[in-house]
């Protein structure tokens, strides 16, 4: 599994109000949410983002509200991956649960500028900056998270358990 696209840079403490303002939380429709994604953080984002693009943010990415609408908006906008040195914990869980790949990698964040071409290989855990030619190793996804991903997300994991599967 890979994604490749343009890098969109954001500062430290990118909060979920910045990713999707609460004034648009009167819907859970992914496409409607995508249309307003990052509206207060970068007004040009929703119209400019292309499938496969990568959000490269600073520390504590996704802090604030627990709204799952934030990773849903990013995913529906076409974002292929989010890279940050650290994530706020609820955003971290939500992103995995809905299938938005996120990677912790301070080195990559330091080495990627807005507009750089970036390729992420999730199987190898590598992040390539195609503009500079540098490659970075992301922190691997922990085994327990892989189990949920192997099931195809948290809901499928629950289905499997309810149907008497062997996952414990």
């Amino acid at each position: 599994m890979q994604t490749e696209g343009r890098a969109w840079r954001f500062a430290d403490n990118l909060d979920t109000d910045g990713i999707i303002p609460a004034r648009y939380l009167n819907t859970s429709d992914p496409q409607e949410l995508a249309a307003h994604c990052m509206e207060d953080a970068d007004p040009g984002f929703a119209s400019g983002v292309a499938p496969g693009d990568v959000v490269v943010a600073g520390a504590n990415c996704g802090c604030g509200s627990s709204r799952e609408h934030a990773p849903i908006a990013l995913k529906a906008a076409g974002v292929g991956a989010v890279i940050a040195p650290t994530f706020a914990r609820i955003f971290f869980r939500n992103a995995f649960n809905i299938g938005l790949p996120i990677l912790e990698c301070p080195e990559a964040v330091a080495g990627i500028e807005a507009g750089d071409r970036v390729r992420v290989d999730f199987d190898r855990g590598t992040i390539q900056n195609l503009t500079t030619g540098r490659e970075y190793a992301a922190r691997p996804i922990p085994p327990f998270m892989r189990k949920i991903i192997e099931c195809g997300g948290l809901i499928n994991y629950v289905r499997e358990r309810l149907e008497g599967g062997s996952i414990t």
């Binding site: 403490n13 109000d17 799952e68 149907e163």
Partner: protein
């Protein structure tokens, strides 16, 4: 092995003798919580699980509080999903306009969360219940859906960070000022993934309301949970109120902490968080030149009766500045009723304030007090991110209810001691 109070609660709910930080545990939940923004997504995911029925209809608590009473057609459709589900599942507790309150004010008041409980909620401020000695943490809608089906969730045992507050805080200060001061020191990711354990003389002296306020904002430092070990003050609060058995757990004296912070808060003055982060904190005496357009008193952080009493003490016999809109939002119908009975509502109305039905409303920029471009609000809420209460170029200043009330009178950020001369 010695354990912290957080570790003890997690161990009990994981069916283990002991747990260690970093360990992954599957835990049973005493209650699971959602609201009118997060529940619709969770309900859709729950339906996909094929579970059919929720794990326990008395332990799934859905509170329509964010955009309710419905602010527009879309929010009405969202809330209707919650209402229909609650009816269809025959949930034991069903709240709506008239009985509904801001969830984190409502649940402790109704005795549905208490000491020793493990609570997850699809709302980041679920951590509030740590003020009663519960382990409580926010999750997203999909996690809520899974927990609605199984009554279980997985958690990573967090490291604990201990915060000891020495001394007696000054007049017009409380839990809000202790937590703002703390976030100002450690930053908005100062306790990322960790448990914040609040102890010391100043915390022991707080009411349960003040402790709920402190734990409420643990997430603003990135924490998984905030917690105050339950004591006699807690016992008095839960007696005759809590509906399930309680567990009064305390950290072992030799429990292991990732870090220990000690603060001398003797004479601490009220604190204000400037835009656009809750960590951008300074004492009120260095914040007095900021003109304001609005003041909001309410929310899951400061919407309890003690908060309204504090505001009323400042506002009694005074008028809101002609250039300021003061909006008071009691957290629950019971708080609303008590404010009426104690004459607080009359004080607010005489001062020229609006008193609203309970709702999260303006705290998250929903409705009931949205800011225009360039406007500023002082608010007793918990977040001051860009655009949080309205236009992306508006500003929110976080403070306690006394500061918000004094600011409403002065038309600028103000110290309650400027307004009420005979304080203390």
């Amino acid at each position: 092995m010695p354990m912290t109070v957080t570790e003890k609660i997690l161990a009990r709910h994981a069916g283990k003798e002991e747990v260690r930080p970093g360990e992954l545990v599957n835990v049973v939940c005493d209650v699971v919580l959602g609201n009118d923004i997060t529940a619709p997504l969770a309900i859709a995911e729950f339906e996909r699980t094929g579970a059919g029925r929720v794990f326990d209809k008395s332990r799934v608590l859905l509170v329509p509080d964010h955009f309710v009473p419905n602010k527009d057609i879309k929010s009405a459709e969202q809330a209707k999903i919650l209402r229909d589900f609650a009816r269809r599942q025959e949930l034991t507790y069903r709240w709506d306009v008239g009985t509904m309150g801001v969830e984190h004010c409502l649940l402790p008041e109704q005795g549905l969360v208490g000491p020793g409980d493990l609570v997850i909620g699809a709302d980041s401020h679920t951590c509030t219940y740590g003020g009663l000695g519960a382990f409580a943490t926010g999750v997203g809608s999909t996690d809520l859906a899974a927990a609605m089906a199984l009554g279980e969730t997985w958690l990573k045992v967090p490291e604990s960070v201990k915060f000891i507050y020495h001394g007696a805080i000054g007049p017009w200060t409380g839990g809000k000022d202790l937590i703002l001061h703390t976030i100002g020191v450690i930053g908005v990711d100062g306790a990322l993934y960790q448990a914040m354990e609040f102890t010391g003389e100043a915390v022991c002296g707080l009411s349960v309301e003040g402790r709920l306020t402190m734990a409420n904002m643990a997430v603003e430092a990135g924490a998984k949970n905030g917690i105050v070990a339950p004591d006699e003050t807690t016992r008095r609060w839960v007696e005759g109120r809590h509906q399930r058995p309680v567990a009064f757990l305390a950290s072992d004296p030799d429990a292991v902490y990732a870090r220990v912070y000690e603060f001398d808060v003797s004479g601490l003055e009220p604190q204000v968080a400037f835009p656009h982060l809750p960590s951008n904190v300074r004492p009120v005496s260095r914040a007095l030149d900021v003109r304001i357009d609005q003041a909001v008193i309410g929310s899951c952080t400061n919407g309890r009766i003690e908060d309204l009493r504090l505001a009323a003490r400042v506002l009694a016999g005074r008028k809101v500045h002609p250039d300021v809109r003061l909006i008071v939002i009691p957290g629950t119908p019971a708080v609303y009723r008590q404010a009426l009975d104690e004459g607080l509502t009359a004080v607010f109305l005489d001062a020229g304030a609006a008193v609203s039905t309970p709702t999260c409303g303006p705290c998250l920029g929903g409705y009931m007090g949205i800011l225009a471009k360039g406007e500023r609000s002082v608010a007793t809420t918990n977040r001051n991110f860009v655009g949080r209460m309205g236009h992306p170029e508006s500003e929110v200043y976080l403070a306690n209810p006394a500061v918000a009330a004094a600011s409403a009178v002065c038309g600028r950020l103000a110290d309650p001691r400027e307004v009420v001369k005979d304080a203390d």
